[in-house]
Symmetry: C2
Subunit: 256 residues, 2 copies
C-alpha cells in the first residue's frame, strides 16, 4: 500500500510536470498570436506587452527544468516515466525559443509601425495563421499523446516553408521597386523567417512526442522546401529562379 501510494503520487507529479508544459505551450501560443496581431494592427501597445510577457516563458522553462531535475533525482524513473521527464525538458526549451521569436516579431513590429504599410506585409498574417494552426495541433498532440496528430502537424510545416519562400521572393522584388521599401521589407523578411523558425520548433516538439510515446526518435527527414536560402532575385529579371543543389539535406531544423 505504501508502494501504491508512492506510485500514485509519482504519477501525479508527472501529471503536474506535463501540465506545466501544457500551460507553457498555451502562453507560447498566445504570444505568437499576439505578436502577429501587433504586426497587422500596427499595435505598439500590444507589441510591448508581448515583449514583456516573454519573461513568463523563461520562468516557465526554469520551473520545468528544476521540477524535471528534482523528479529525476528523487524518483529515479525508468522507461516511459523517464521519457516523460526528458520530453518535458526538451519541449520547454522549444517553447522558450518560440517565445523568443514571437518577442522579436513584436519588437520588429515597432519599427514597421513607424513607416507606411508595405504590400507584402499581408503575407505575415497568412504565415501567422498557418503557424498558429501547426503549433496548436502539436500542443494538442502533446496533451493527447497522439503520435499521428503530431506527425500530421509535422508534415504541415512544408506548407509553411512554401509560404515563406514565396513571401521571401515577393519581399525581395518589392524592395527593388523603391529603396524606401528596403527597411520595412527587411523587418518583414526577419518576421517571416521567425515564423518559419517557430514552425521548425513546432516540428521539433512533434518529434519529441514521437520519442515520448513510441520510445524511438523520429528519424525520417521531411523534405525541406525552404528554397529562400538559395534565392537569387535580380532587378533585371523579375522571374526568380531558385537553383537547388541536389544535396539540399537541410532538415526540419534548417536554421536561417
Amino acid at each position: 500500500m505504501g508502494t501504491e501510494h508512492i506510485v500514485r503520487s509519482f504519477a501525479q507529479e508527472l501529471q503536474r510536470l506535463s501540465n506545466l508544459v501544457t500551460q507553457m505551450g498555451g502562453v507560447a501560443e498566445a504570444q505568437v498570436e499576439a505578436a502577429v496581431k501587433a504586426v497587422t494592427r500596427r499595435d505598439v501597445g500590444l507589441a510591448s506587452q508581448v515583449m514583456q510577457a516573454d519573461a513568463r516563458l523563461d520562468a516557465y522553462e526554469r520551473d520545468i527544468d528544476a521540477e524535471a531535475v528534482r523528479l529525476l533525482a528523487l524518483r529515479q524513473p525508468m522507461a516511459q516515466d523517464l521519457r516523460e521527464i526528458v520530453s518535458a525538458l526538451k519541449v520547454s526549451a522549444d517553447l522558450e525559443r518560440i517565445g523568443d521569436y514571437a518577442a522579436n516579431i513584436a519588437k520588429r513590429s515597432l519599427a514597421l509601425a513607424q513607416v507606411p504599410v508595405v504590400r507584402p506585409a499581408a503575407g505575415i498574417p497568412r504565415m501567422g495563421r498557418l503557424v498558429e494552426t501547426i503549433l496548436k495541433e502539436v500542443l494538442d498532440a502533446y496533451i493527447e499523446r497522439d503520435v499521428d496528430k503530431a506527425i500530421a502537424a509535422w508534415e504541415r510545416d512544408e506548407e509553411l516553408d512554401d509560404l515563406y519562400t514565396s513571401l521571401f521572393r515577393e519581399v525581395l522584388t518589392y524592395m527593388m521597386e523603391d529603396p524606401r521599401n528596403i527597411t520595412p521589407c527587411t523587418h518583414l523578411l526577419f518576421m517571416a523567417k521567425n515564423l518559419e523558425r517557430i514552425g521548425d520548433h513546432a516540428t521539433n516538439i512533434a518529434e519529441i512526442i514521437h520519442f515520448l510515446v513510441v520510445g524511438t526518435p523520429l528519424t525520417v527527414l521531411r523534405p525541406k522546401n525552404d528554397g529562400s536560402s538559395f534565392a537569387v532575385v535580380s532587378p533585371a529579371a523579375p522571374d526568380i529562379d531558385l537553383p537547388l543543389p541536389p544535396d539540399d539535406d537541410a532538415g526540419p531544423a534548417d536554421a536561417g
Copy 2:
C-alpha cells in the same frame, strides 16, 4: 569493492558522455569556421561539404540523447552526476542548432557566389572570427568545468551583438545604393543574423556550464545590444537612428 567498481565505471560512463559532447563541440566549431571560410573564399565545394557534414551533428545529438537517457535509467544519478547528464542533453541541443546555422550560412554562400562581391561581405569574416573565439572559449570552459571562463565568454556576446548591429546598418544602406545589391545583401543579413544566433547558443552553453558546476541557473540577464530589430534606415537619411524603447528586455536568447 564491487561498489567501488560500479562507482568507477559510472564515472567512466559520465566521462564518455562528456567526451561525446566535447567531440560534438569540436565538429560544431569546425562547421562554423568552414562555413565562414566558404563565404569569404566563395568556395562552393567547401559550402556543400559543410551542408553535408551537418548530418554528423544530428547523429551526435541522437547518440548523446540516447546515452543520457540510458545513464539516467540505469544509474539513477543524483546531484552533480545528474547535472552532468542533463547538461549533456542541453549542450548537445545547442550544438545541433549551431550546426544548423553554420549549414545555412554555407547554403547562402552558394547564392552569394553567383553574384559579384558586395562590400559589406567583409563584415562576415569579422563577425565569424569573434563567434569562433566565443564558441572556443565556451567549449574550453565546458571541458575544464570553468565557470569564470564561461561567464567571460558569455559577456563577450555583447561585442558580437554590436558587430551585428553595425553590419546590419551598413548592409541596409548598401542595399539602398543599388537594387542589384538587394539579393546578395539579404543573404548577408541572414548570414550575420545566423552568426549572431550562434553567439546566443554559445551563451546558452555558458549558462548550462554555470548550472552544471554551481548547481543554480545563471539568472542575471546580460544587457542585449542587438538594436537591429529596431533599426529604421531611410534612403533620405544615411545617418541611422536606432530608437530603443526603455523596455528592451530581450535577453541573450533574443531570436531574430
